[in-house]
């Protein structure tokens, strides 16, 4: 049984999805998706444990050995990402029931859970697989279900947002396939480890090679919303149902970042990658993203949109860490991958609660709301402080590592820029806190605190963003192992 964990991880949600369609009942569908997500989370923890104790797991699909068959290959890096994705999945499905019942038409709810499970399948598959083309297939599974999930939003703009994302996402995925095709031309293999081995002999100045890297980078940058390829993201996050936004914001882009890490470090390897000069471009774009997106976030009236822009900025931090190409830098990126997932999830879940009670997440509708919904806004404050990078929250841990990486690389100005950009976060977070806590409510209304079934998952996330801000053993430990492996060049 334990030998089949890697495939079960992906297979279980895939098989659970049709049940939701067949049974056509919203509560049963919810129960199925909750149980599935919890099982996935348990499996991912078991896998992480296996990887940490026994090393890399290789699973040959159908018994065909790599590089001929499809291999599921799990090392520290993707075991870690699997845990993030499935944990968020579990939390979100725990949370989602009330919110979904309210935000999605009754007759579509079971379809929502189907799409959610497929999306989970896709994301877990992308993470687990060791085959670059198989990765594309999972990428499309997750993307297609994501488009469907976004289009379920109440506002009709959800449709155009979803369409926009579909176009951009498909372009990105196709770019990825083109890049992969070029690599296949040079090496004749699609297995990631095999690609690494064969590319080691390739001359870095070869044009095919460079074109391949360019296509892969642009394609994945689209998926992970690296500035300035983030245009699809704000609308998609704003108009998707709250639960979907929370799920996507903390998983979809993170998995794309993971794939990027794989491409850069495992397939190409640090040395080849550095020669191409791509890291410098990424660094500049990441810094631009941090500033531009944070600045735009300050002027948003719709808080979901504000957080969406903040996500673009935070992705900038992650990519900046990666672009240092040092162990500290990549650890910072990986740790922020985890930390940002937690805090953004908490923030979007809090907004989901607000949406549930108030029916809007416009700043002007939230005057004095902290008195009515103290627990919800409390969690929002925790998440917000974490975005700023206040000590004792996860945000501080990431920032500390990132700054250290910059110092280590002798890039003091970059370190200064990181700090300056976090001041922008202070502005946009504080704007909300002031309105929620210190403004008198505009009209007398009987808004109540969100139901407990939403508050508990919310506070699990908020609690986690404090807990992991203090006890960093697990997150940092794993991130460092992963970074050493990636930068060290062992596939």
């Amino acid at each position: 049984m334990s030998a089949h964990l890697p495939v079960l991880q992906v297979l279980i949600p895939l098989l659970a999805a049709p049940f939701c369609v067949v049974l056509r009942h919203r509560d049963i569908a919810w129960a199925i998706s909750l149980i599935t997500s919890l099982v996935c989370f348990a499996i991912s923890l078991m896998i992480l444990d296996q990887v940490l104790t026994q090393g890399v797991i290789s699973y040959f699909m159908g018994g065909w050995p790599a590089p001929w068959g499809i291999e599921f290959r799990i090392d520290v890096v993707n075991a870690y990402v699997l845990v993030i994705v499935s944990a968020i999945g579990a939390i979100v499905s725990l949370y989602g029931r009330h919110s979904i019942n309210k935000e999605i038409p009754r007759n579509q709810i079971y379809l929502f859970y189907t799409a959610y499970l497929l999306c989970l399948t896709g994301l877990l598959g992308m993470t687990a697989t060791g085959d670059a083309f198989n990765l594309f297939v999972f990428l499309e599974i997750s993307s297609l279900s994501t488009y469907a999930l976004i289009s379920l939003g109440k506002n009709r703009r959800a449709l155009t947002a979803s369409y926009q994302y579909l176009i951009m996402g498909t372009l990105g995925a196709t770019f990825y396939v083109i890049g992969l095709g070029l690599l296949y031309m040079m090496t004749g293999t699609l297995n990631i480890v095999d690609l690494h081995n064969k590319l080691a002999d390739v001359d870095g100045s070869l044009r095919t090679f460079q074109a391949a890297l360019a296509f892969l980078t642009v394609g994945l940058s689209l998926k992970l919303a690296l500035f300035p390829l983030h245009l699809w993201l704000p609308n998609a996050y704003t108009y998707a149902p709250s639960t979907v936004t929370a799920f996507l914001a903390s998983t979809a882009t993170k998995v794309a970042v993971y794939v990027m890490l794989r491409v850069f470090f495992t397939i190409f390897g640090v040395d080849l990658f550095e020669e191409t000069g791509v890291p410098n471009i990424i660094m500049i774009l990441a810094i631009c993203g941090m500033f531009v997106a944070s600045t735009v976030a300050i002027f948003q009236e719709n808080l979901k949109r504000m957080l969406a822009y903040s996500s673009v900025a935070q992705i900038g931090y992650i990519m900046l860490g990666i672009s240092f190409l040092s162990v500290t830098g990549v650890s910072a990126g990986i740790v922020h991958l985890f930390n940002h997932a937690i805090m953004k999830c908490a923030l979007f879940l809090a907004l989901g609660c607000v949406m549930y009670r108030v029916g809007s997440v416009k700043l002007s509708d939230m005057h004095g709301i902290a008195k009515k919904m103290p627990w919800t806004m409390g969690a929002f404050v925790v998440g917000g402080l974490s975005l700023i990078g206040v000590p004792l929250t996860v945000g501080f841990v990431s920032k500390w590592y990132l700054i250290n990486a910059a110092m280590e690389a002798d890039m003091m100005p970059v370190a200064a820029l990181i700090l300056l950009s976090s001041l922008l976060a202070l502005v946009y977070v504080w704007r909300v806190i002031e309105v929620a806590y210190f403004r008198a409510p505009k009209t007398e209304s009987n808004i109540k605190e969100a139901p407990l079934s939403m508050l508990i998952p919310l506070w699990i996330m908020a609690g986690a963003s404090i807990y992991f801000g203090i006890d960093t053993d697990m997150t940092l430990g794993v991130a460092e192992l992963a970074a050493e492996m990636l930068v060290g060049g062992t596939p």
């Binding site: 083309f133 499309e140 297609l144 289009s151 155009t160 979803s162 369409y163 196709t174 396939v177 095709g181």
Partner: protein, 123 residues
């Protein structure tokens, strides 16, 4: 001579790929009609299919079917991959088109420009 290799007729398939790719890409960017954008997207994807399939071709080889008298075969793997990619492409197109239908129901138009105006009004 070597410098001109890249325009040699032997590589014309890549020129077709690049032409289709750019044409599709251009349509996606430049056309305002949502259906036309999807058409462009399809052309763009098709170019990739061609890219893969043409790289599977081996000079003087037959189709990859075992048979008497043949010992060089074309590489079947790209074809298989592209079969998958075609399926993905169909799914994307289907989803895209259904979104377009829903957009038309909700807005009464599928022109980018009109949509933007409508959205500005509502927001």
């Amino acid at each position: 001579m070597e410098a001109l290799d890249f325009i040699s007729p032997g590589l014309y398939n890549y020129w077709i790929v690049i032409f289709l790719m750019m044409a599709g890409f251009y349509i996606v960017i430049a056309r305002g009609n949502l259906v036309k954008k999807l058409v462009g997207l399809n052309i763009f994807q098709t170019s990739v299919f061609l890219l893969y399939i043409s790289m599977g071709k081996v000079q003087d080889a037959t189709a990859p079917i075992l048979g008497e008298g043949f010992d060089t075969f074309s590489n079947p793997l790209p074809h298989v991959l592209i079969l998958t990619a075609i399926v993905v492409g169909i799914a994307t197109t289907a989803l895209g088109l259904s979104l377009v239908v829903r957009i038309r129901e909700a807005y009464g138009t599928i022109e980018d420009k009109d949509l933007l105006e409508l959205e500005d009004e509502t927001s």
